[in-house]
């Protein structure tokens, strides 16, 4: 196994482009090292991106948007004084991952690029409209988070491409986001269903909505029908029921050791309602 710690993303990209066999980038390593030790994936090349300048930075840009370095950990996000006020859903989703120890290492980018359909931060990022900057042999491109995963363990990144930044939009006024997941225990578990919701209001009326579902299909789902169900509403009971129905209808889950098809389909609707209520309250400036 070859281990590299490049000083730039261009170098990281070149290393990956020229590597043979299985290549993994090493961010927090909370997926990579676990898979290695359990002999699921033994990489031939390991490219540690944590030595690149600025990868732990959390920056608020002049327009109110945020740029996060790709090695920024869950703990660093939770401890940031402002980020969680703008995007509580994204920060809480990341904070759900693992234990205190895992939080000291795990990253948004690792969670996304590991390609698990159950990754917790991903539906929250999709709802929030987050994009990632990708550096590759042909330069840089910006990709919406929902366009990265293509199936369990698979991404749209091509050989030599590395994620070099995470971009979170400006929060703007009268808006709020939320993420909820279902697990059978209270912590240290993998989402059986995850729902991210982001809303903007005009008065009491929803004018913008993005709803994303995790763990109910081979990839995260951005569900237009969920948004339609609540747009223009005040999140009244009828809108909530329509939202739940749309969420359940969008599900295409599997039966496995973590949950049944029926269960996931049903609970996706339940969590969509609950998450929407939290996002709505937050958009109104209430504590939720």
């Amino acid at each position: 196994m070859n281990y590299h710690s490049p000083a730039s993303f261009a170098e990281a990209s070149a290393l990956a482009a020229n590597a043979t066999g299985i290549t993994r980038f090493l961010a927090g390593g909370t997926d990579v090292l676990v898979q290695l030790r359990s002999e699921l994936v033994t990489p031939d090349t390991l490219i540690d991106i944590k030595k690149i300048n600025g990868v732990h930075d959390i920056t608020r840009n002049a327009d109110g948007s945020w740029t996060l370095g790709v090695a920024t950990t869950g703990a660093e996000m939770s401890e940031h004084p402002e980020l969680g006020k703008d995007w509580p859903g994204v920060v809480e989703a990341m904070d759900l991952i693992g234990s205190t120890q895992v939080q000291g290492r795990a990253t948004l980018t690792g969670n996304l690029c590991n390609g698990s359909p159950a990754a917790d931060s991903v539906p929250a990022m999709v709802a929030a409209g987050v994009t990632v900057t990708v550096t590759g042999p042909d330069g840089m491109r910006e990709v919406a988070v929902e366009d990265i995963p293509t199936g369990p363990g698979k991404t749209s990144l091509t050989k030599g491409e590395v994620v070099s930044a995470v971009n979170i939009p400006a929060r703007g006024d009268n808006a709020g986001d939320a993420y909820l997941r279902f697990i059978p225990r209270t912590e240290m578990d993998i989402a059986v269903v995850g729902v991210g919701v982001d809303l903007r209001l005009d008065g009491d009326t929803i004018t913008e909505a993005r709803v994303a579902l995790g763990a109910v299909a081979p990839t995260v789902l951005l569900v237009e029908d969920c948004a339609k169900a609540i747009l223009g509403s005040t999140l009244d009971d009828a809108a909530l029921d329509a939202l739940a129905a749309a969420a359940s209808a969008a599900c295409n889950p599997i039966d496995d050791k973590r949950g049944t098809i029926e269960f996931r389909t049903e609970v996706a609707g339940v969590l969509a309602k609950r998450a929407a209520k939290i996002a709505y309250a937050r958009a109104k400036g209430e504590n939720a």
């Binding site: 359990s38 002999e39 279902f182 059978p184 225990r185 209270t186 912590e187 240290m188 578990d189 993998i190 059986v192 496995d256 050791k257 973590r258 949950g259 049944t260 029926e262 269960f263 049903e266 609970v267 339940v270």
Partner: protein
Amino acid sequence: MALDDRKSDFTFVGTRPNRPDGLDKVTGRAKFGADISAPGMLHGAVLRSPHAHARIVKIDTSKAEAHKDVKAVVTRADFAEVPFKPGLEGEFWNVLENVMAGEKALYDGHAVAAIAASSALAARDALKLIEVEYDVLSHVTDVDKAMAPDAPVIREGAADYSVPEGMHPNVVRYHESGHGDVEAGFSEADLVTEDSFVTEATHQGYIEPHACLGMLGNDGKGELWCTTQGHWIAQKTCAALLGIETSQLRVTASEIGGGFGGKTTVFIEPVALALSRKANRPVKIVMTRSEVFRATGPTSSASMDIKIGMKKDGTITAAQGVFRLQGGAFPGAPGDMTAMCAFAPYNLTNVKQIGYDVMSNRPKQAAYRAPGAPMGAFAVESVIDELCNKLGLDPVDVRLKNAAHEGTKASYGPTYERIGLVETLEAAKAHPHYTAPLKPGQGRGISCGFWFNHGGETSVSLALSEDGSAQLMVGTPDIGGSRASMALMAAEVLGIPYENIRVTVADTASLGYNDVSHGSRVTYASGLATIKAAKHAVERLCERAATKWGIPTDAVKWEDGCAVPSGPNAGDFDPMPLADITADMGSTGGPISGHFEATPEGAGVSFGTHIVDAEVDPETGKTCVTRYTVIQDAGKAIHPTYVEGQYQGGAAQGIGWALNEEYVYGEDGRLQNSIFLDYRIPVASDLPMIDTVIVEVPNPGHPFGVRGVGETGIVPPLAAIANAVSNAAGVRMKQLPMSPPRILAALKGNG
């Protein structure tokens, strides 16, 4: 055992000093199974079957043997010939077959070969060089399917004499017991309820994986260090499997990171010794968690039918149960225990119970606290709860009305001596928890539970030092703070401070035979042995004082750590403290020690009653246990903190078993969830604070009244939680675990 020396007021017993091994454990100084190494040590790794059931056509180890880092490879051919016999008699054969597969791989994870190499990584990598040709056979992992006529036969001829004609060969033992006439009893009932229940297999989930270091020379002399609940059984078994003399193998028990019954047998120990014998070097093997799940001993899974008749006033007129337990690819599932314990809390005129021990393509089950009893209690206590609900009766009152007491003929045969079930029920009724208001969406559940407890072969040796301190050697690994309890009991007899007693878990060469730390026997049997050994030393001390004073030995008695004249006529001498006698013992007759070797047989059965509140989210089926109270008879709590720890531990493990823990097998017969991520034991935040009440109804079979407390605590939880959840959800839950998908499906099915 003669118990003329019963004691009821205590100086040390009943206090709560820190455990003697506490500092070592919190500072990391304690040595667990994997914490040892030896010069020249090799690392072992085990190749395991990926198939649930397959004939092993050929194993080619030549490539592995040729690898430069590999020092030895073993297969079944490297173990002794052990004769095959059906039933429990053939247990050495069963263990050997489990430790290293013979003609067939019998379950996913079954060991087929092992390697010793110069590093752990090299050993693991070299496993890939072993080529095994399998002829895959059809398999069965479910207990009911394993009994069906078309089930694949795991092994012909494994059934013993108890099995009725015409049963499938996978049924290997049969148990039937009871008394009275159940049919007549049912006809007297105002309401008869009949229902079926299933539980999945769970794992003890001890935090320390199995680990050992073995050394065996070609002269047949060996040393073994391992994490175990009983090193004498490890000694005996390893010697048999390797064809050496028992006494030539010295086994030392490491500190143990949990066992709960799962470390009462051997898995990797004989393999390490076989590799060592071949490589002529010490060999260490440490299991991964996945190996622990796949290839050690989880509980049985169970399928059960219960029928109970009740009168309107709550009197049980008849009770009947059929208990089918699957225990993996070997005989041993405790269907008999399940049957015998199921109705044991009740004073029944008509009772009948049947138990089946069934083989399937799963790992060989091992004991898990009160093996077999929790499942049976789940089924029986669920039906009692249902009857109480239907007849509008209070669940504690009904249990009190039917409770077994001194003189009751137990459902499994004997007549009870003094027991404490009624006291636990009365304490439950008086407990504020029982009458606390419930919030909407919450339900309350009650259950009783019973366990036999065990005595077992026991040897203890106590030696006094010249400065008046004492060293106590016991042979039962300390799995729950027993060193503290032993020191308290020795202090009580000797009259010297707790701190002056050093308790050591001696190796097999230093003490006579000791049964495993199981059956809740340690505080009872090693405790009784400690008391007797200390009394033995006290007799010697009195003799020396008598000689010094020039009076007869029977004119001296022992009081508060001193020899004193037994009465005014004996003479007027100042009390002679223990340290004054030991100071010159070398010249007054030699070292003073006390011993005990016997098989105490008055273990004293034990009962408990649990109260549980649970809240169910009707939209997701998720359960939260909001309040939990354990009430159990300890006979006499030697160290109350560790008694409470046992109660809380039983409840915590029961919550896991009831709600989320389960072995999940795929269609291919492979275990799907062999890591803690998907095998869901409760995390700390899943548990409420678990309240405990220690009831003390002294056991007539122990000098201080001790009853074992290690196992009874896991008998009521499955039922108590199921009753709470069923009452909260408004639908009877008949399958464990009551995971959210199952609860939600039950809610939907209920409309």
